[in-house]
Amino acid sequence: MSVSRFWRKIPQRYNLIGTQCTTCGRYFYPPRSLCPDCRRSGTIVEHQFRGEGTIVTYTVIRTASDLFEHTTPYVLAIVRLDEGPNLTAQVVCRPEEARIGMRVKSVFRRIAADGESGVIHYGTKFVPAE
């Protein structure tokens, strides 16, 4: 990933900052600048998520792209944040520990090291919270 593409989303990736449509109350993470329900009549503001949620589904990645190859196997999950939206993130646990319905909370971690651009990507992962 290019440096500027990563850098542009640092607040969102580091601190789980998404958005909310204050017109209908719906939360968005990943952030959206347009509410699909209210569209142009919706007012969008930033929102920091608490970082607690539940595993909706998961997998264990055994074959990855070059960027992630040295970290396999790793648990990847769709996590439903308590405020509503779903996101895709890694869960820091042993493959056999992960299960659907597991409570998790966010942590700030190194995601990948990009050898080509020389940049280390940090962001949000989750850990078991039970």
Partner: protein, 387 residues
């Protein structure tokens, strides 16, 4: 709008084409389709080509012009347009060709699909395919394309009574069909144990749950139905052409293991064709992973959610069953050159309806093609019938 018919089809061998370049793959498929249609190059009014990622696979964009040129059509200055929707690019190309003819704007249009995937290494290949999903919010976290379908499979198996063996049977059946298809990449039969003993890629999906990396091209020729008999005695009519979109990221879907775009496109297509499920004799569905075929059969409405595994186990979707699915071998055994797959589905249905499918021939007057982009962010459904 005018009715549209397919008058010719062509397809390269699906395999790892070490000796053939991107452009020559297309030339081979296009030539076969024009020969089959009895059309000369000079009669072609326009060209649409589906291709996912030549930009990354072979560092080439501007695919429409490239293939018109190497097909020898450049000096006619015909419009040649590339469309892209990841793995649904071929289905889109066919649909745009149908619209161009239906509108009255063009008469003889070639719809093609092509992908050359084996020129890059596995790492770059995996990364390129992840571009079919949300690069910023799925790929960034380490999601691979098989990983996303694996999460669909886990959600599905958590909620419905699908066994690991039923899932494996999808691959077993598609290899049985592929073994009877001369253009298929894999022509050997496998067993459930082959699948269950293959390496894990992303739990619960193993290597034999996944479609392969493939090079290939396919092309078809469409004309107004009223002109079809000028070219062929066996035109095949386009009864419906529908495209639907959904969220790019899997995590934003209403239901993780239902492809709402498949549901929407399937319903609209049957309505457009004025047909019911029982009128459809065969399906070519998008089995990029075994779980995808299970979801497709259900989301298209051919059985209730949770029942496709049992149907597969009982042989309903096999060649000899009541509803043959993926007679070509599907993406799994026939191969999956991404942009070509949607056109190959049309190729297979036309071949079946004409009765030219040899050892894999089924009794089919009406067939449905279902082509998916990404994890369901684009779905294209076509219904074809003899006339």
């Amino acid at each position: 709008m005018r009715d549209v018919a397919v008058i010719g089809v062509g397809c390269t061998q699906f395999s790892e084409h070490w000796y053939t370049s991107f452009r020559n793959l297309f030339v081979e498929a296009g030539t076969l389709a024009l020969e089959d249609a009895g059309v000369t190059g000079g009669e072609v009014d326009a060209l649409y080509v589906g291709n996912m990622s030549a930009g990354r696979f072979v560092e080439q964009e501007h695919i429409g012009a490239l293939i018109a040129d190497y097909a020898g059509l450049a000096t006619n200055h015909i419009p040649s347009t590339r469309v892209e929707a990841a793995c649904a690019s071929g289905g889109l190309a066919f649909r745009q060709a149908v619209i161009a003819v239906a509108s009255g704007m063009e008469d003889v249009v070639v719809a093609a699909g092509v992908e050359k995937m084996t020129d890059v290494g596995t790492g770059v290949g995996v990364d390129t395919l992840a571009g079919a999903a949300d690069r910023e919010w799925e790929g960034f976290a380490g999601a691979t394309f098989p990983g996303l379908y694996a999460m669909i499979a886990n959600d599905y198996m958590h909620r419905y009574a699908l066994t690991r063996e039923q899932l494996a049977q999808v691959a077993v059946k598609n290899h049985e069909n592929g073994a009877k298809n001369p253009i298929a990449q894999f022509r050997q039969q496998i067993t459930i144990d082959t699948v269950l003993n293959s390496p894990m890629v992303a739990d619960p999906l193993r290597l034999f749950d996944c479609s392969p990396i493939t090079d290939g091209a396919a092309a078809v020729v469409v004309v107004p139905l009223e002109r079809a008999r000028e070219f062929t005695d066996t035109p095949v009519r386009v009864l419906a052409s529908v495209q639907a979109s959904d969220t790019i990221a899997l995590h934003d879907r209403r239901d993780i293991s239902t492809l709402d775009a498949t549901v929407a496109a399937g319903r609209r297509a049957l309505r457009q064709a004025r047909l019911e499920h029982r009128d459809i004799d065969m399906l070519e569905v998008h089995d990029c992973f075994t779980i995808a075929e299970i979801c497709a059969i259900e989301d298209l409405g051919f059985c209730a959610k949770g029942e496709a595994g049992r149907l597969t186990e009982e042989g309903v979707t096999a060649l000899a069953g009541d509803l043959p699915v993926n007679t070509s071998g599907g993406l799994k055994a026939c191969g999956h050159p991404v942009g070509a797959t949607g056109i190959k589905q049309i190729y297979e249905i036309v071949t079946q309806i004409r009765g030219e499918a040899g050892k894999r021939q089924v009794d089919a007057e009406v067939g449905l093609a279902h082509n998916v982009g990404g994890t369901g962010a684009t779905v294209v459904v076509h219904i074809l019938g003899g006339c």
